[in-house]
């Protein structure tokens, strides 16, 4: 009996080593995964040097339908010429593909180009693993004047374009026109200020219909701040030099959160959690009359509401009418980066593909099929885009909002290396405030202090 107990104990100890080691040991597992995923890249890149087309491997994060459109664009490009062959590889979400890139960096197993979300820009620059897009642009005096300034603005640092924008979107206010009519509001005159939104939400809340619901998404907070011209970080949002202080506790953020919280407390706005998908579904089901969402969701939302109610769109609300000409929206989405550890020839081939992607015709196709903005102004002259605008007139709001934005550090968007983490912290602060766990000011102050600490930690490891 005694020895049986000892055995059992020893076995369980072993078991625990096994189980807990998984936590720490995961790193190696992730490393292996990335190496595995990247393995074909290397073998595929070699024959390119000898003869035949140059192979370009592109890691992207476009899943589902979007992934299908990406594959179609790649096919169009590969069919159009025989010098370059692009292979698009889906690598999971933005976070996942970026993490895979981190493990592949310096091992020679990475891709030629990668699509990275806008908030990963600071990291990409600091990593020293990329060739700035400006180098290719200068190399052949490529004309960027046909591209949208407001989109380029985000990816321009120290007057240099580091990556080529690819998919961009903005948040807009979606509202249920039928509900507006029913509640006696003018469906053609949506609310534009915080006060108007609050009033409309109150009027709209009746029976099973609630005035609105915003997902707890850090991006919305960032946008609402930029929309009143407020900066998120010091050093001009981190654009005049590395930022080392978050400004989330500033009055602009606090009053925005207080406004949001007030509506939740009054029951005219629902708190449906962090998932934008949940608010989107509630809106499409006619349970909430207003919601914030990305312009890229427009097609999906309009289609989901078809036959049930008419969807209206309005620009992102501002605090007061006096803020009308202040600030604007920051572009969200992702851009394309070329990595510098691939042979020159391959990088040039990737640049060729990027130029193809920036063409008006390609952008028109991309825009119409995905709902992302075309990055070139010339795309609006394409018939495809014109027809699409007739079908989805709601999209005009998004275009106007983008064009109406004045480019300042606030609307260029904040830059920091720990952006994904800062979003998590912001979201926690919003949750604390909305659920009453903390006062908006306290919650935001705490988040601000934590973000500041993380930024400084990041800066210190990068400086070495």
């Amino acid at each position: 009996m005694q020895s049986s107990r000892k055995w059992m104990f020893a076995c369980l100890c072993m078991l625990m080593v096994v189980l807990t080691a998984c936590g720490g040991g995961g790193q190696t597992a992730a490393g292996n995964g990335a190496a595995e995923a990247a393995a074909p890249t290397e073998s595929a890149a070699k024959p390119a040097e000898s003869a035949g087309p140059v192979k370009v491997v592109w890691w992207h994060a476009m899943s589902g339908e979007l992934g299908g459109v990406v594959d179609e664009l790649v096919k169009q490009f590969n069919d159009s010429q025989d010098e370059v062959e692009v292979e698009a590889v889906f690598q999971g979400t933005y976070d996942e593909s970026l993490n895979k890139l981190k493990t592949a960096m310096g091992s020679g197993t990475g891709p030629t180009m990668i699509q990275t979300y806008e908030i990963g820009s600071r990291f990409m620059i600091d990593s020293g693993a990329i060739t700035p897009m400006q180098q290719f642009i200068d190399g052949e005096s490529y004309d960027v004047s046909h591209l949208e300034e407001n989109i380029l603005g985000y990816y321009t640092f120290d007057d240099r374009l580091y990556s080529m924008p690819f998919n961009t979107s903005n948040p807009i206010l979606y509202y249920n026109k039928d509900a507006f009519k029913k509640a006696g509001l003018d469906p053609e005159n949506p609310p534009t200020t915080y006060e108007e939104v609050e009033k409309a939400a109150k009027t709209l809340t009746e029976g099973s219909m609630t005035g609105g619901s915003f997902a707890i998404y850090g991006w919305f907070m960032e946008q609402l701040l930029a929309n009143q011209g407020a900066e998120l970080l010091n050093n001009s949002n981190g654009r005049a030099g590395m930022a080392d202080q978050a400004q989330l506790g500033a009055p602009a953020a606090v009053s925005t959160l207080e406004w949001w919280k007030k509506m939740v407390d009054e029951g005219t706005m629902l708190n449906l959690g962090r998932k934008t998908d949940d608010t989107k579904k509630a809106f499409a089901a006619g349970q909430v009359a207003m919601t914030l969402d990305s312009t890229a969701s427009l097609r999906g939302i309009v289609q989901a509401a078809e036959g049930k109610f008419e969807v209206g769109t309005a620009p992102l609300p501002k605090p007061t009418a006096a803020d009308a000409d202040k600030g604007g929206v920051v572009v969200g989405g992702a851009s394309l980066w070329i990595l510098n550890d691939r042979p020159e020839e391959e990088q040039q081939a990737a640049w060729k593909f990027i130029k193809f992607l920036a063409e008006p015709k390609t952008q028109a196709y991309w825009h119409v099929n995905t709902g992302y903005f075309p990055i070139t102004k010339e795309a609006y002259n394409e018939d495809l885009v014109k027809e699409n605008l007739k079908k989805y007139p709601q999209f005009q709001t998004a275009i106007d909002q983008l064009h109406g934005t004045e480019l300042t550090p606030a609307t260029q968007g904040a830059v920091m290396g720990v952006f994904p983490e800062a979003r998590q912290l912001t979201e926690t602060a919003i949750e604390e405030a909305l659920t009453g766990a903390a006062k908006p000011q306290d919650a935001l102050d705490r988040a601000s202090a934590e973000i500041t600490q993380k930024i400084q930690e990041y800066n210190s490891t990068v400086a070495q």
């Binding site: 369980l12 189980l19 720490g24 995961g26 449906l272 509630a282």
Partner: protein
């Protein structure tokens, strides 16, 4: 992780049944002395040869990463996840000084408290009921064991649909009987309970099979004589079934606690640690620090603390709980 845990009962049982045999050759060899020394060495070498492949795999995939995580825990890493510099115990110190880690510890303990006893109780009741040899019982056994066939991912997606704040099935039925909808995953006071509810459902399948197996190992004669002595079903359960399955129950409780410490999938899919960190259990926090924010140093430090805690709790379980276990 799940798999490892579930395959564990087999070697354990084997070890148990092995044991009575092992002392035999030893005592026999002790009598024959010198000549048998060589034989013993041979046997030892043979054993080593058999163990070697397993040891190699363990070493490569378990011990090496373990050592690696000790190494990482003493360093800070740059945004690329590479070791930047040696920081000594600063990672550990920061853990206990920041509010995040102690909060995660509390959340994890709460999660264990919510899930382990409830899972065991449900599984025990279901198993006790299903032990009876009645026509059609197989259907019930099948139904109760079914969650074992559902992966964490699938299970979480199913419950995500049930938990949806406005369109969810649960709130729909609550509405039907005139109750106000519950914010299952968005209310910080509710989220951990909701996750626990789902976890209990998921655990019950495996524990049910385990306990049913344990109960079926009890000879039928004992039950018959108990019946003859006039023991009712409730008394039989408390006085007979429970003590006789106690070894299985003990094993189940130890692995359940370890399993609860490791809970990750459902949290990653349903809440991502939110709202207000109310479901931010240790493993999720560790994952987020290491693989989302790329701070392997802090992540490894947390993994080691988690290891120490699980070790401690398991030792305590052996010291205190095992006394109550009745081995046949």
């Amino acid at each position: 992780m799940e798999k490892l845990e579930k395959s564990a009962p087999v070697p354990l049982k084997k070890k148990e049944s092995h044991n009575p045999d092992t002392p035999l050759p030893r005592s026999a060899a002790g009598g024959a002395s010198r000549t048998s020394a060589l034989a013993r060495f041979r046997e030892g070498a043979l054993a080593a040869a058999f163990i070697a492949p397993a040891l190699l795999l363990f070493g490569l995939f378990l011990f090496y990463p373990l050592i690696q995580s000790v190494y990482l825990s003493l360093h800070s890493t740059n945004p690329r996840g590479q070791v930047a510099n040696f920081v000594g115990l600063a990672n550990f110190r920061n853990l206990f000084n920041s509010p995040g880690f102690p909060n995660s510890l509390i959340v994890t303990l709460k999660f264990i408290l919510f899930t382990v006893p409830a899972s065991l109780a449900f599984a025990l009741v279901f198993a006790a009921v299903c032990r009876a040899k009645i026509r059609g019982m197989k259907i019930f056994r099948f139904v109760f064991a079914l969650p074992i066939a559902v992966s964490v991912g699938t299970g979480s997606i199913m419950w995500m649909v049930l938990f949806h704040p406005t369109l969810g099935t649960l709130n729909y039925f609550l509405g039907k009987i005139g109750l106000t909808p519950v914010q299952w995953l968005t209310d910080p006071n509710m989220a951990l309970l909701s996750i626990s509810l789902m976890t209990v459902w998921m655990n019950v399948g495996f524990l049910f099979i385990l306990l049913l197996g344990g109960m079926q190992g009890v000879p039928e004669e004992i039950y018959e004589s108990a019946k003859i002595d006039g023991s009712g079903p409730v008394r039989t359960f408390w006085r007979l079934t429970l003590p006789l399955v106690s070894p299985t129950l003990f094993f189940a409780s130890v692995t359940s606690v370890i399993g609860a410490f490791q809970a990750f999938g459902q949290i990653n899919i349903l809440t991502k640690g939110g709202p207000v960190n109310s479901t931010n259990v240790l493993v999720f926090k560790l994952y987020e620090d290491a693989f989302v924010n790329f701070r392997f140093g802090v992540g490894s430090a947390q993994a080691l603390v988690l290891f120490a805690i699980v070790l401690l709790i398991t030792v305590l379980q052996f010291v205190f709980a095992e006394r109550k276990v009745h081995y046949q």
